[in-house]
């Protein structure tokens, strides 16, 4: 499953990018998808990830983020589901 994480500020996005890389997540910085609202221009896409382990990693590392979304793909259409 792919996920995206949104952030309040670029500073937090870059910080999370660096930390997630050390956690062996497959990540990419992408422009924030139009379907979801975001505070800053950057969003992190995490490929083949599991919602729970991602949330645990972010929490343990004290990384400030805005929202995690799970990407559900249906007939080529992406839907972003908020994760609590």
């Amino acid at each position: 499953m792919d996920h995206v994480i949104t952030f309040h500020s670029t500073h937090h996005a870059i910080k999370a990018e660096k930390r997630l890389k050390t956690g062996n997540f497959k990540i990419e910085l992408i422009p924030t998808p139009r379907e979801i609202s975001s505070e800053c221009g950057f969003t992190i896409l995490i490929k083949n990830s599991e919602s729970q382990s991602l949330a645990i990693f972010l929490e343990e590392d004290n990384l400030l983020f805005d929202q995690i979304y799970k990407i559900n793909e249906n007939h080529g259409e992406k839907r972003y589901e908020e994760i609590d």
């Binding site: 309040h8 500020s9 670029t10 500073h11 937090h12 870059i14 910080k15 910085l29 992408i30 422009p31 924030t32 609202s37 505070e39 800053c40 221009g41 950057f42 969003t43």
Partner: protein, 380 residues
């Protein structure tokens, strides 16, 4: 050219600083915190890394509380104008630079702010008994310099901040002359805000400044605008650093500062202070040999940051400076943007002093040559 005007801005800059500025302008050039393309990401990374390095150097737990400005003056103005409210009272020193005293004077006349100045001796040392007396008046703020830009006098700024904090005052420190020269542990300190430039002892480019906020310290910014965040809203974001960083940053300058911070970390502030201290002692010793030259700076290196103010009594300041200029020695004559300090040490009526400020990249030989040239000038 022998450059001895480091209190105005350091020169040369740390190794690699000009190249880092050039590299940014030539190969990256994009804006930070806004777009998501690779050049914009590189620009954002530079800003991010520089903030992290500052956080390490000054021991700041949360780097988002480190705000970039264009200089220390902007940092001080933002903080002073934001933090001091109508009718409140402020203790300041008698050695302040105009970047502190001018905003305070504005608040005094426009917002009925009360201003109390700590007395100083003729070498710029604050009178700590007078300071204790003033604290009894329960001021709302202590806003003061860590070190005079005229005499190089280093204040016992940490103890003073602790005392002020004990009576509940906010403490704003102007660390312009010491940031990069004397270590500050921000988290352990009693400062609510510290302000400093990136281009003096931090050895970075001009056009860079910083203020750092303690957790819980908050006020209204001086400027509002585009931050690259919350762009769907017409209201300024409340989170840091965006709240205080409207408009495009001086990323080229920050790239240079990033490199400079790397140099300071590798070299160590203690080594920088030792090197500059030796040059300052050599300079002071040499200047003491001229009976017609008066030194207005403390000569004890424990309370001296390498800023030596002198007045020749056998010729005009302008004549003396002209002779030095002709011989390619760069010093600064006049009031150094600190009329209050000159009034305090008694040099205002001379039109100020000649200020000689070595940097960590000067050599013993350069100080020797300078002293020889001064000897020539004094003979005339």
């Amino acid at each position: 050219m022998i450059y001895l005007d480091n209190a105005a801005t350091s020169f040369p800059k740390a190794p690699g600083v000009p190249e880092a500025v050039y590299d940014f302008l030539k190969n990256i050039g994009a804006n930070s915190g806004r777009s998501s393309h690779s050049l914009a990401r590189k620009a954002s990374s530079i800003v991010f890394e520089t903030r992290e390095k500052l956080g390490q150097l000054f021991n700041v737990r949360d780097e988002t509380r480190i705000i970039f400005t264009s200089n220390a003056t902007e940092a001080l103005n933002t903080t002073i104008m934001g933090l001091v409210k109508e009718g409140e009272s402020v203790i300041t020193s008698s050695m302040e630079h105009n970047s502190v005293i001018r905003p305070l004077r504005v608040l005094e006349s426009a917002n009925d702010v009360k201003l109390w100045k700590i007395k100083s001796d003729k070498f710029g040392n604050p009178d700590l008994k007078d300071f204790d007396q003033l604290l009894k008046k329960k001021p709302n703020h202590l806003i003061f310099t860590a070190c005079s830009n005229v005499t190089g006098t280093i204040f016992p700024f940490e103890e003073m901040a602790e005392k002020a904090k004990k009576i509940g005052a906010n403490v704003i420190l102007d660390a312009s002359q010491i940031a990069g020269f004397i270590p500050i542990d921000f988290e352990k300190s009693a400062f609510d805000v510290i302000c400093f430039p990136g281009h003096k002892s931090l050895l970075g480019p001009t056009g860079t400044g910083v203020f750092i906020l303690k957790e819980g310290v908050d006020f209204t910014p001086l400027k509002f605008g585009g931050t690259g965040s919350r762009s769907h809203l017409e209201h300024q974001p409340e989170f840091l650093p965006d709240k205080f960083e409207s408009g495009t940053l001086n990323i080229a300058g920050i790239a240079g500062l990033n490199k400079a911070l790397e140099f300071i970390e590798e070299t160590g502030m203690d080594n920088i202070r030792f090197q500059k201290g030796n040059l300052t002692n050599q300079l002071i010793y040499g200047l003491q040999q001229f009976p017609d030259l008066e030194i207005f700076s403390p000569i004890d290196s424990k309370i001296q940051a390498g800023v030596i103010s002198i007045v020749p009594h056998n010729m005009k300041l302008s004549q003396f400076t002209y002779e030095l200029d002709r011989k390619e020695i760069a010093v600064r004559m006049g009031l150094q943007c600190a009329p209050l300090a000159h009034q305090t040490i008694g040099t205002f009526n001379y039109g100020g002093t000649i200020r000689i400020t070595p940097g960590c990249f000067n050599s013993k030989e350069e100080i020797e040559i300078t002293l020889e040239l001064i000897a020539d000038i004094m003979k005339k």
